[in-house]
Amino acid sequence: MKLASAKVKNYRLHRECSVEFDPGLTVIAGPNESGKSTFIEAIHHCLFAPHKKSGQFLEHIKSNIYQGTNPEVEVVIETSQGQCRIEKVFAGPKGHVYLEQHGESFQGERSEERLLELLSVDKPGPKVGIEKLRGYWSHLWVWQGKSGENAASHIEDYNDRLLRALQSVGGAVVVQSELDERISDIFAQRYDEIFTKAGKYKKHSEQAVLEQRLLDARDEYEKALQEVNRLELARQEFMDASERIEECKRQIELLKLEKEKIEKDLQQAERVQKELEKRQGEYDAISKTVHHLDQVDRKIKELKKAIERINGEKERLQRGLSKAKQHLHHQEKEILAIETEKGRIQKRLSVLGNLIRFYDGFITLLQAQEQMDNMQKRGERRREIEEKISAIEKELAEFPEIDKTVLSEIRKAKTNVDKAGATKDAIATGIEIVKADLPVVVGGKRLLAKDEVTVTQLTEIEVGDGVVIAIRPGGGDALQKAIEEEDLWKASLSRLLDRLGIGEFSQAEIMFEKRQALLKKLDRLNSELKGLGGREEDEAISRMEKEIAALDAEVKRRREAVQQFLDSHDRDLFSARHQAEAVKDEEEKLLEKNRDIEDQLKGLRAEQETLQNEIFSIEKELTSLEEKAIKIKAQIETLEGEHGTNEDRRKRLAQERNRFGEISRDIEALNGQLSILDPAHLYERFSNIKNELDETQRALDVSKQIKNKAAGKLEMDGSTDPQAELSRYKARLDSLEQEFEMAKERAEAIKLLHNLFSQEISRLADSYSAPLSQKINTYIKYVIGPEAKVKAVFQQDTFQGIRLSHIAKGVEFDFDSLSGGTREQVSAAVRLAIAELLAPDFGGSLPVIFDDSFTNTDTKRLEGVRTMLSMAVKRGLQVIVLTSNQDDYIGIGAKKIQLPPQRPVLVQQTAGLNQGGPRKEMDHPVSALSGEDEKLFMKRLAERGGHCGNKSLMAYLGWDEERYWSIQKTLVNKGRITTGRGRGGSVEIV
């Protein structure tokens, strides 16, 4: 079966478009928005979609450009029995179908049935979705954007047909039986019951349960073993403790014996010690007595020596005393001589004092007289000046009192008069009579030739009779005012001058100057007068006179006292002062001498006192020595009275010394005994033994405790026999171990069975999938190379997909793990292989449609793809390729059809589509919300790194061409993306 031709009318963007397919290879090329996919979709719908289908399906395929039309598609199929023409008009319930075959024609359902029979597919339900619809023949029909999908997922409905085909080409000689499957399932299930996915025993499997029981049994066995060991240990402890107890008891006996012996020795040592102490007491008493007597002797001797010492001292003191007394006497004489000298100086000093007083008074008197003369001279001068002052004052009284203030007032009045006059003159009109042949009267005053007059107000000039001229000087009121001001100031000036009694202004100036000169002279005299003191001076003179008289009287009185010492008596001040100084000098010298003598006297008197004290102390010492001597003598007498005389004492001492020797010998003997007994050592041993006894006793107690404790442990309650328990646990452990081993072997057996079944099933599956694998490989070798091998994977008789292995590298890949390019190439090879296998059922040929299916294939591989497609054609398949890049298929020997570019779909139409409610099963969701689409476009493009081929981005977005290109254009126009080169073009975020 092949597609011969197709005609599409009013289908989405197509007004009318028809294509005749090549029986071999057809390449339909066209730019992206030319509607290739839409065209091929229309063919698919014509073949598989129910003609009365309406709703979204219909809205989707309707043209929005050619409104009011219905989509129409006509397809001609070439079958082995000739041509078959199908015509479908999609108009919902009004839609119709027409089928023509072998000269027969059918309409309506009948023709649909006929068609589906021809295509060998089941009838789709009336509510079949677009996606489901697209699934028809999807093993032959590679939709745009689906080229990378696993071809096996598109074969589901044709699996049986494929298997039959494979069998017919000798693939599967044998097929697994139902029993094979059942038995295999049994062991798979039993395997699952035992093993986890990781190959471990499942939790509740027999093996896991046994393993746990084995662990528990081992624990119990260990516990029982511990119990038995514990008893064994306790028994050993009991025995050891018993032995220790015996040993301790034996030692205690030995120690006790030793202790008794030492105690006896210690008692003996104590007795010796007591005797020794007694002797020692006696020894001490005697030695005390002897010592005492010796002491008394020594004391008496000492006392006698002391008396001798005192006598010697007394003599020495007596000598010192007489010497001091002599010295004192000499001192007293000296003091008397100095005191006489002192009296003489005192007398002279008294005379000198009187002289000084006299001269003081005399000098004062002379000074007062001199002052008195001066004062009298100044009084005469004063009287002279006073006379001069009264003469000047008389002169001044005759002058008008013109002072500076008055003068300036006058000057001001004069200036103002002059100023007003000048103003008046400036304003007034001057009239000069140059020639006067006729009488000229100006202002009532007759003027003659050469006369001049100044007119200050309206003045009439009469010249002769009958000629009167009125002159009106200029200035107006100002002239009048100047005249008035001048008059005013003139009156003021004459008033001032009148008050002073001066006729003229010029005199006022002269008068002022003269008066000023007199006043100055007066000032000078007055100030001199002031310096001379004034009248109180006279009173001072009279006071001075009285003072001088008093002083004179005093001087006379003082002179009387010193008359005899005065050589002369000058009355002048100078000589008086000279004499007075001489007297004072003498006084000073005498005063100094007097002070020296005082000092000397003071020193002598201090010495005198010291001597007196010395004498007193020597006398006191002598008295005390005397007393001491008396006391010592009394002591000597007392001692001799107490202890007898020297003779008595010697006798007693000899006796005591004798006894002392006896006792010393006794003591030595006792000490000898003691050193043999060595009580210190005995005590040490005693305490050691006591300690050892205590310790042994303690050890005994401890051992007894241990023994009791062990005995307690050994006491059985009789409820069980630990040894028997241990044996039982051991036996159980052994039997469980054996059981577990057997269970493990059983599990292994099941595992073995399961594995063998899986292996055999997969081997069988491989054997009938081999023809498919081989077929695929005959295609794929052109693209990937001969070293790549594809293996078709069947499971439970169902084609699951393929695995690609690289022979040289020895690696295998799942389809899903392959790259996008390889996926679409392998997928194409699988489809071609399947088509080839299925072709015999369809008259030896089938069409395979690739709608832009190699977008991820690079140029190098594309060569292989071309060869692969040519090969398919050679093997009788019809291949239709849709591409936006026809250069890819140059030189392939294909029929090339160019679809003209179409206007992209407008948005309004699809907006109408959306009014019906939420879209369902929309394979081509052309969104009204193109803003959303733009966002989505940008987002996906960004996800692709901001740069992407159109084809792959379209696939990534899952959009159809219309939707993609419309949004792409919009975004280019908005300047958000730019287009780039590359196959199918590319876009990039600006």
Binding site: Q176, F187, P722, A724, K730, L764
Partner: protein
């Protein structure tokens, strides 16, 4: 002078290898019951007393019920029973003989029982028993050492027959390959060996030994009585247990010894080799010969070897299940290996309609026959049998 020599009662022996609890209890209890039978024999034979040469109890810590049951059975004998501790129930601290409960039960239930806990001579019914009890921390050699001490033996009565009562293994030159005669499975420790040559020749008239569970004369005057009730599978053909010895004795004479059977249960070992599938009948006959068709009397250790087909293996399995029910214990080591017969092989491998099953079966048979690893073979056999069974079931569905 007539008495009975017995030993190794092992009261309270757990018989841990008997999996069935009830049967285990029966076997345990029989050890007490057989003591009663000794009493009957003694009375029948007019014996004066009974000596027990050690291992009265199986362990030093028997449970109370065992103690009570034993005392009760001994009490019923009515004759003096003189016993020493053996290596299982040695005397000393914590031993059963020191436990208050035992002492009380012995006093109340078995006043005729005398346990000798010190190496010493004891007079009983005109005989002198030279007891060599096993004590904690002492070897059997030490236990008999006192017999060489003239001081201790000098004062013994001259005209009374003397019986040495001891427990332990001896050098056994007659046993050929085995250097010692000893029954303990753990092997023989030197500590429990008695040297008969060290015992002064004329000291005693009879040496009553315990420890060896089979009845055996080891010297002109020395005998092991063996255990009164069999308790293990025999290792030798001439092993005989379940006896007591009836001894007639005079001072300075040779003892007259007569074994009397008192044991109840049979302990047997059997090895059987399969050489053809029909041998299963032979096995049945052989077992019937041994047991006389009795039920509840036998304990058997069975070893099956050889090859058989799947059906036979299945039948053997069923037969063994029957024996397990009938016997007190069947300890079977089944080394029977699978060798499917032609019919079975056909049924597994020649399945044209089931290609998977036949190829799996073929691979399993091949694996089983490869023979380089026993475990792999076993697992393959198991797998093959599983497959066979699954097929039988599957085919009926």
């Amino acid at each position: 002078m007539r008495f009975i020599h017995t030993a190794d009662w092992h009261a309270g022996r757990p018989f841990e290898t008997i999996p069935d609890e009830a049967k285990r209890a029966l076997v345990r209890n029989q050890r007490i019951e057989t003591i009663r039978r000794i009493g009957e024999k003694a009375r029948e034979q007019d014996a004066g007393f009974i000596v027990v040469a050690g291992d009265v109890f199986d362990s030093n810590t028997p449970d109370s019920s065992t103690v009570s049951a034993l005392c009760s059975a001994v009490g019923e004998i009515g004759l003096p029973v003189i016993a020493i501790p053996g290596n299982h129930d040695y005397g000393g601290p914590g031993s059963i003989y020191e436990q208050a409960f035992f002492q009380k039960e012995a006093q109340n239930l078995a006043p005729n029982l005398r346990i000798i806990l010190k190496p010493e001579p004891v007079e009983v019914n005109g005989a002198v028993i030279l007891a060599c009890p096993c004590l904690f921390g002492r070897s059997s050699m030490e236990a008999t050492a006192w017999l060489n001490s003239k001081e201790l033996t000098a004062g013994l009565p001259v005209n009374r027959p003397r019986i040495i009562l001891a427990h332990g293994s001896i050098y056994d030159f007659s046993a050929g390959s085995e250097q010692f005669s000893h029954e303990d499975e753990a092997g023989t420790a030197l500590s429990s060996v008695i040297d008969l040559d060290q015992i002064p020749e004329d000291l005693a008239d009879y040496i009553a030994l315990g420890d060896w569970h089979g009845t055996k004369q080891v010297h002109e005057k020395a005998w092991y009585s063996g255990t009164h009730e069999p308790d293990r599978f025999p290792r030798h053909q001439n092993y005989s247990s379940g006896n007591v010895l009836l001894v007639d004795l005079i001072r300075g004479g040779t003892p007259t010894v007569k074994p009397l059977t008192v044991g109840e249960f049979r302990w047997t070992r059997l090895s059987f080799h399969f050489s053809s599938d029909t041998d299963i009948q032979q096995l049945n006959v052989k077992i019937n010969e041994l047991t006389g068709g009795q039920v509840g009397k036998d304990l058997m250790k069975l070893l099956i070897e050889g090859y058989a087909g799947m059906e036979t293996i299945k039948k053997v399995g069923e037969f063994l299940e029957t024996l397990k029910a009938r016997f007190l214990m069947l300890s079977c080591e089944n080394r029977l290996r699978l060798r499917p017969d032609d019919h079975e092989l056909m049924r597994l491998k020649e399945r044209r309609s089931d290609p998977i099953i036949s190829s799996v079966a073929a691979r399993l048979v091949k694996e089983m026959e490869r023979g380089d690893d026993e475990r792999t073979q076993r697992i393959s056999s198991l797998a093959l049998i599983e497959l066979y069974n699954a097929l039988i079931e599957g085919e009926y569905q």
